[in-house]
Amino acid sequence: MSRFARWHLSITPTECVNCRLCEKSCPFDYIKKPNVGLVRENRAVGVHRLGYLFVALPLLIALCGWVGHRLSVPMSRYHNSVRLAENLLVEQANPQLEPTLETTTFRTQGTPETELLAGAHRVRAQMNVGGWLLGGFVGLIFGAKLIGVSLSRTQKDYEVDRAHCFSCGRCCPYCPSDAIHKGNFVPGNPAYEAALALAKVQGTTPEAVAKGGTA
């Protein structure tokens, strides 16, 4: 839910000089780079794909819902009542089986077996509904993810990936234009050292590299 965080780091487009120094500063690679000139896919192909994905979304939800519904049977066994009821029925069908501690205890408590079975069926019904809902939700997530990664848009500036950024601030010292961190653009600072290395190659100064924005 980082996407909805109020106080995220952001890269101010008007101050960014596209120096690219921040590209590798993020340990998680959550700074999105400009993609101008990089999009090579035909727009019509992308639009068609999106259309197919939107059509497939309900089907995907239904499929995953059905899988969740089927999965509710083994999952419901993690409920004590269901497991006990199943054990009782298995022992009933196979008298040669040694009764388990649970079934033996249940029998001594005097609760009618049918009461347990009714409870187990209730749990199973709830799990069934829950299986449909959870499966459908998972299908929705998958579908939304597929649609999300199929959406392409032109990006002119460096941007923080708001969905994933932790706002750890490690990128801040690398930005030579950040007003807050301008005072850090001194020897020892990674951005300064990187700019210095480039400056040596270009025969210019680190400040000039930072201002110039390209290497």
């Binding site: 066994r77 199943e86 029998r107 290395a197």
Partner: protein, 582 residues
């Protein structure tokens, strides 16, 4: 454009850190190897069971007085133990050294990495900078992950078969066990009986606990005297295989009773004329009530509940909550498990029959209920929850001016129900704090309910008011007999009591040598009441004084209530069933 940043890797600090890291790594590796080797040898080293020591010990057994051998064993044992503990000590030390070495190594390499760290700089070309390819890769990844998850889920779910799928919920629509097919001789029940015996017919027979007329026999031919030793007055005497406190039930030429112990439950049918055992049926253990022995008192046992019959079928219930129905030929019709009744002394409420229903009062610690089950199928026609704890009394069907009612007693209420549907008709609170074992009695529009040491209460069924209450002397276990404006009952401690039915005032009290668990039965103008010692007290139903007619001996202990049909008096002792009379 490739930019290469140069670092001074020849500086002393860098070299020192690097050397330290490598030394620590080698050191840790060596310690690790030694540690593994030591553990392997430690596993082999068993100072107590080393073969050499075992051999020496065996040798010592043959030479117990060899001091040199004894000393050698001590020495060897000491050495083995010393080696064992040295290895253990080494183990602990090596672990510490390993942890230390690894720590130094990690710190060194971490420092080395920090020293070597280069600031990021942009590459001139990143081959991955292809959004379309990235998106394609992402789509593939999401699709593959999704397929793997779905496949895994299906692989898990599809082969799964739950036994619950074969136990449909509809079979448990009512909260109690559905009838299960009879375990032996299973056959479809006989065609549903469209009619049921009339009240007169029922009163001529003895279809349940206290018969069909509250302990009053329709005919007066039962004998006054007999001699078990000589056989005089004894029509027959038959041994009952399993014990039971329940009373005999008689219909026509059949006598029914049940017996049980901790592991077996049986129903018996005897020929009322000859006493011959016509059939015997054992109940299969129901899943809900098998294996675990019940806790019951000796006074109650495993078959305290008297059976009931509707003239076509016969019903029995046992202390474990198993209820079964048979036809008169002994063919099992259905069997149900009502669950183990949580009951301090053991379940003892007797069954009752009404029209085509068998009535079960199932009072227990939790989830008590009263139910009317269809006689032919065992299906629950109605069931009424009762917010009471356990009781030991039996339901009574009474014919009041307002219609037939089903009266029950349990702490703290006497409640009347409509036996057709289980709807509550009225209730009176009069048994607070009681352990109710005495079944309600009824006569002349008045219900008499009692609990030992609590009270005996008379309730007008029309006004539902308490007419009177007495705390002086109260019934213990047996149900009072109300006749001619008098109340008769026996005391568990010893004694027979006669009270005035209109006021509760005591008319007389007679001593007996033994306590009385049975209920009095009226035959003509005489009352039959056996005590636990086996003495049948036969006395006049008279309030003036205790007029003993006779006191013949049954010959064994008696806890149950006699049944009277025609001129036959059926009495169950602890071992035998007797028929007294011609």
């Amino acid at each position: 454009m490739v930019v290469v940043l140069e670092r001074d890797t020849k500086s002393v600090p860098y070299q020192v850190i690097r050397a330290t890291g490598y030394i620590a790594a080698v050191f840790s590796l060596v310690v690790c190897v030694l540690l593994i080797a030591n553990n392997v040898s430690l596993k082999r080293l068993d100072p107590v069971h080393s073969p050499a020591l075992t051999n020496l010990v065996a040798q010592l057994r043959s030479e117990p007085r060899n001091p040199a051998l004894r000393e050698e064993i001590r020495e060897l044992d000491y050495l083995a133990r010393k080696a064992f503990f040295t290895s253990q000590h080494f183990n602990q030390t090596a672990i510490l050294l390993l942890v230390g070495g690894l720590a130094v190594m990690v710190v060194s390499f971490k420092a080395l990495r920090a020293y070597q760290a280069t600031p990021p700089y942009p590459d001139s070309h990143d081959p991955k900078d292809d959004p379309a390819a990235d998106a394609l890769w992402a789509r593939k990844s999401v699709t593959v992950v999704g397929l793997v998850l779905v496949g895994f889920a299906l692989a898990l779910a599809l082969p799964w078969r739950s036994p619950l799928d074969e136990a449909p919920a509809t079979s448990v629509a009512d909260s109690q066990a559905a009838p299960v097919p009879a375990p032996v001789g299973t056959a479809a029940p006989a065609a549903a009986v469209a009619t049921w015996p009339s009240l007169e017919e029922r009163q001529r027979q003895w279809p349940g606990f206290l018969g069909a007329a509250g302990g009053r026999a329709l005919e007066a031919g039962a004998p006054n005297n007999w001699n078990v030793a000589s056989g005089e007055g004894v029509r027959w005497k038959s041994e009952v295989p399993l014990p039971g406190m329940n009373s005999p039930v008689v219909w026509g030429d059949r006598v029914f009773l049940s017996g049980a112990n901790a592991t077996a439950r049986e129903v018996y049918c005897l020929d009322a004329v000859s006493g011959q055992l016509l059939w015997k049926q054992a109940l299969a253990s129901s899943p809900a009530a098998m294996d675990k022995p019940l806790k019951v008192t000796d006074d109650t046992g495993y078959a305290a509940s008297t059976m009931a019959t509707d003239g076509r079928h016969v019903f029995a219930i046992f202390a474990n909550g198993d209820l079964a129905a048979f036809d008169f030929e002994g063919k099992p019709l259905w069997q149900r498990s009502l669950g183990l009744p949580e009951n301090a002394y053991g379940y003892s409420s007797s069954l009752a029959t009404f029209e085509d229903l068998v009535i079960v009062q199932f009072d227990r610690k939790h989830d008590s209920f009263l139910a009317g089950l269809e006689a032919t199928t065992g299906t629950t026609r109605w069931q009424t929850a009762r917010a009471f704890g356990p009781s030991w009394a039996s339901p009574q069907i009474i014919a009041t001016p307002a219609g037939v009612q089903l009266v029950t007693a349990a702490e703290p209420h006497v409640i009347a129900y409509d036996p057709h549907n289980g709807n509550e008709l009225w209730r009176v609170e009069c048994l607070k704090g009681a352990e109710v074992a005495v079944s309600p009695a009824y006569a002349d529009g008045v219900v008499y309910a009692a609990a030992e040491h609590i009270n005996l209460t008379a309730i007008d069924v029309t006004t539902r008011k308490i007419l009177w209450q007495t705390h002086d002397v109260t019934p213990s276990i047996g149900t009072p007999l109300v006749v001619n404006g008098l109340i008769f009952f026996g005391l568990a401690d010893t004694g027979i009591v006669c009270l005035d039915a209109k006021t509760g005032a005591e008319h007389w009290q007679a001593e007996t040598d033994e306590g009385i668990y049975a209920s009095p039965v009226l035959v003509g103008d005489r009352i039959y009441l056996p005590d636990r010692g086996g003495t049948m007290h036969i006395f006049k139903a008279d309030g003036g004084s205790f007029q003993l007619v006779a006191a013949p001996q049954v010959g064994e202990e008696v806890y149950s209530t006699p049944a009277v049909v025609g001129d036959g008096l059926f009495v169950r002792g602890v071992k035998h069933l007797f028929r007294f009379g011609p």
